[in-house]
């Protein structure tokens, strides 16, 4: 059978007879790599563009149509020492990039306007106390209006839109008082300018927008960066499937290019990348990523298989089905939809603050107007004073209080290997006081490990590892990896379903089923883990037993202890069998556990905890965890998780250790503390400024100083979120 790789799905026409592909590249981190890749690829004839993006770790390539195959470019990168995978921009990432550019454009416009309006305002401020002619002042005010009005109309769009959305949903958010403040300040300034008045607030309004846009842009940019990394990781996973393009010909194509009805080949040791039904063949499959159950399931004609299942022994032909056809998936999807609807009801700290803030401020302004009228001022003067109250209390610092902390904290988490999927995850994570862990793939590592390696002589283990390299079986792959074997034994032969054997210097080595190695007698003599897969190894007449299973994450115990230190409740909810769950719970010292739980049971347990007022952090990776990830107050997934779970989780952590769970909780708690502090700082500032505004002595100079002073104070305070979090003892 012939196997070809086909990446034409990712190639797109770039016009003028050129073709374009974007590649995610592993291991690019310095200027040297950049130059090496660009030179190496430009040296290929017919390549017209090879440009590395060091921020996103990607390469953009263009070449003359028909002259080259993208495979040859990927191979060339491999020769240069970099692994590259075709990359397709997800719609989510494309939206973030567009949003980020739009905010930067708004920021540019607002910054330009602020600088120029300031240039006109400062002469007015100093002229008002010296000898400026009223005509000159009016001229400057009109010019300010000319700059500030169109600039605010453009740069204020993010706030106006969001405020309008909130109002049309009959709620309020922080953007409502911001929009009201800006519009009133500009409107009043225009009226005052028409009446040749002394004060106009164009500068304060446009400066407010600039400060807020800085906060918004930083926040957005951090999110964009996280998305780019997540996108790369998805590309590096290189989800491909062997699709039949002819009766006997298969082509390795990206999953995105596979459609329902296609037939794919699933070889032993491969992870299935599609949902479908087996039409031919018989094999054991490991569905632990889907159900959490670690026992293998037998798949034969008619058995449904899901993306994420690992094929263990035989070769299968699978007909791809649409995702919703499969019953398990349909059930999970239904639960997930319900849970997601419930989650969207969470109200962010910023919005809660604005719900209290806006009515108080607007009422104060109204009372000020009425108070001045009763005290005998004209309606005009009273309204001007009332609007001044609104301008000085316009929640500039309050608008920055949360996004700036969020940016700094998510940057710190990013460095610790935690990616944020949702904007308000930090707030919700900080409140978590109970952690529910899934077992398989979360507390344990997603891949297999040899648990009794210490009992076996090192040289024997090394030999077993080298022999294992000749087998496709996933258990053999685990042995090879555990032994860190590099060079396969020459002449090793694999007997399907039995094992591998080789003869070196007249001594026969065998690795495989105990019966294959004549080691059945040993099984009874050693006490072994009931859940482990048993592999035997024989060297001549010496025989050994290896026990292979999913090991606990290296620092799982330390993490559990650290969580207990922080008075966080811990429990295990697993879809796996009872003995396996008990073993893990004992090893980690977790008193509360439930085994054999269905996705619906998991949700029921979370709901029960919710009713008691507990804020649950769910950590899980399986597809069966996806609904409970959505139902929990906040959720985390390892990067090895099933697609659906990863997309549902609020945070995703990288790497083998479990430590990011604790690090993330610590950073989030610290961040929430700083957010609250910032909100109080902003409110405190306003409490000082409001009496000045009510008394009617506020000038535009005071308004501008108050606004920038409080904003800078809040930004500086936010930087404290960068500090290192406590190490796990």
């Amino acid at each position: 059978m012939q196997v070809t790789r086909d990446f034409s799905h990712y190639v797109r026409a770039a016009g003028a007879g050129l073709q374009h592909i974007d590649l995610a590249v592993e291991g690019v981190h310095c200027a040297g790599c950049m130059a090496k890749i660009e030179r190496g690829l430009s040296a290929i004839p017919d390549v017209t563009l090879a440009r590395v993006n060091l921020t996103d770790r990607r390469v953009a390539l263009e070449w003359k149509e028909g002259a080259l195959d993208p495979i040859s470019l990927i191979d060339r990168l491999e020769e240069l020492g970099y692994k590259a995978y075709p990359y397709e921009t997800e719609s989510a990432e494309a939206t973030e990039v567009a949003e980020s550019r739009f905010l930067l454009r708004c920021l540019g416009v607002a910054a330009f306007a602020t600088m120029n309006v300031m240039m006109l305002s400062i002469p007015v401020w100093s002229g008002n106390v010296s000898d400026m002619l009223p005509e000159q002042r009016d001229f400057f005010h009109w010019l300010s209006a000319l700059i500030a009005l169109p600039a605010a109309a453009y740069a204020g769009q993010p706030f106006f839109r969001s405020a309008w959305r909130a109002l049309s949903n009959k709620t309020t958010n922080m953007d409502v008082p911001i929009s009201i403040g800006v519009c009133l300040a500009l409107g009043m300034s225009v009226v005052e300018t028409i009446h040749h008045a002394e004060h106009a607030y164009f500068d304060a309004a446009i400066m407010l927008l600039t400060f807020l846009l800085v906060g918004r842009f930083l926040d957005q940019n951090m999110r964009r960066r996280t998305r780019a990394v997540a996108g790369n990781l998805a590309a590096l996973k290189a989800e491909t499937a062997a699709k039949f393009v002819g009766p006997d010909e298969i082509s390795q194509v990206p999953v995105a290019a596979i459609h329902p009805g296609d037939i794919v080949l699933l070889r032993p040791g491969e992870r299935c990348a599609v949902d479908g039904t087996v039409i031919e063949g018989r094999s054991d499959i490991d569905q632990s990523l889907i159900t959490g159950e670690t026992l293998y399931v037998t798949a034969e004609q008619g058995t449904p298989v899901y993306a994420g299942s690992m094929n263990i022994s035989g070769t299968l032909r699978v007909r791809v089905s649409a995702a919703s056809e499969a019953t398990l998936l349909a059930e999970i999807t239904r639960l997930l939809d319900n849970a997601l609807q419930a989650r969207s009801r969470y109200v962010r700290l910023a919005d809660r603050a604005s719900r209290l803030y806006a009515p108080v401020v607007h009422a104060t302004a109204l009372v000020t107007i009425l108070g001045w009228v009763i005290a005998g001022a004209t309606w005009h003067d009273a309204i001007v004073t009332g609007v001044a109250v609104l301008i000085i209390t316009c929640p500039c610092a309050l608008g920055l209080a949360i996004p700036t902390v969020q940016t700094v904290a998510s940057g710190a988490m990013f460095k610790a290997g935690v990616l944020l999927n949702s904007g308000d995850a930090i707030e919700r994570l900080a409140e978590a006081d109970h952690v529910i862990f899934d077992k398989t793939g979360t507390l344990t590592l997603p891949d297999l490990d040899v648990t009794n390696a210490a009992d076996i002589p090192a040289n024997i283990f090394q030999l077993a590892g080298r022999l294992a390299l000749s087998s496709h079986h996933p258990v053999a792959a685990a042995v090879a990896q555990a032994a860190d074997a590099r060079s396969p034994i020459v002449g090793a032969v694999e007997e399907a379903g039995q094992g591998v054997c080789a003869v070196v210097d007249g001594v026969e080595f065998r690795l495989g089923r105990p019966s294959f190695c004549g080691a059945e007698a040993l099984i009874g003599s050693v006490t072994l883990d009931p859940d482990a897969s048993i592999v035997a190894f024989s060297k001549g007449s010496e025989k050994f037993i290896l026990s292979v299973r999913q090991g606990l994450r290296p620092d799982a115990q330390a993490v559990i202890a650290a969580l207990k230190d922080r008075h966080i409740g811990i429990e295990i909810l697993s879809g796996d069998r009872e003995p396996a769950v008990i073993a893990a719970a004992h090893a980690l010292g977790i008193a509360e556990w439930r085994a054999g739980v269905t996705p619906a049971d998991k949700i029921a347990r979370i709901e029960e905890l919710k009713r008691r007022g507990t804020k649950v952090l769910m950590v899980g990776d399986g597809m069966n965890d996806a609904p409970s990830l959505a139902a929990a107050h906040v959720s985390m997934s390892p990067i090895s998780a099933a697609h659906l779970s990863q997309a549902t989780a609020d945070l995703v952590f990288l790497g083998r250790p479990l430590a990011p769970v604790v690090t993330a909780i610590d950073s989030a708690r610290k961040a929430l503390h700083l957010m609250r502090q910032n909100v109080w700082l902003a409110i405190g500032y306003n409490v000082l400024a409001v009496p000045v505004a009510i008394s009617g002595v506020v000038t535009p100079l005071i308004a501008a100083a108050a606004m920038s002073g409080s904003s800078i104070l809040v930004m500086l305070n936010s930087l404290r979120a960068r500090g290192a979090s406590r190490e796990i003892a």
Partner: protein, 56 residues
């Protein structure tokens, strides 16, 4: 003070020119790879040596 009639529009024109330059640089993708741009500034300017395909 009549000089204001020239100076103020002049200042505004300069500001607008700055804004236009910023928008142009944004559109031409100069903010897409800030890490890379920092290194490119100090990299050698020599055009990449075109190896003959036969040499490889």
């Amino acid at each position: 003070m009549e000089i204001l009639v020239i100076l103020v529009p002049l200042a505004l024109m300069l500001g607008l020119a700055g804004l236009a330059a910023f928008l142009w640089s944004l559109r031409s993708g100069q903010y897409d790879d800030l890490d890379g741009a920092a290194w490119r500034a100090i990299a050698d300017d020599d055009p990449p040596p075109r190896e003959a395909p036969a040499k490889r």
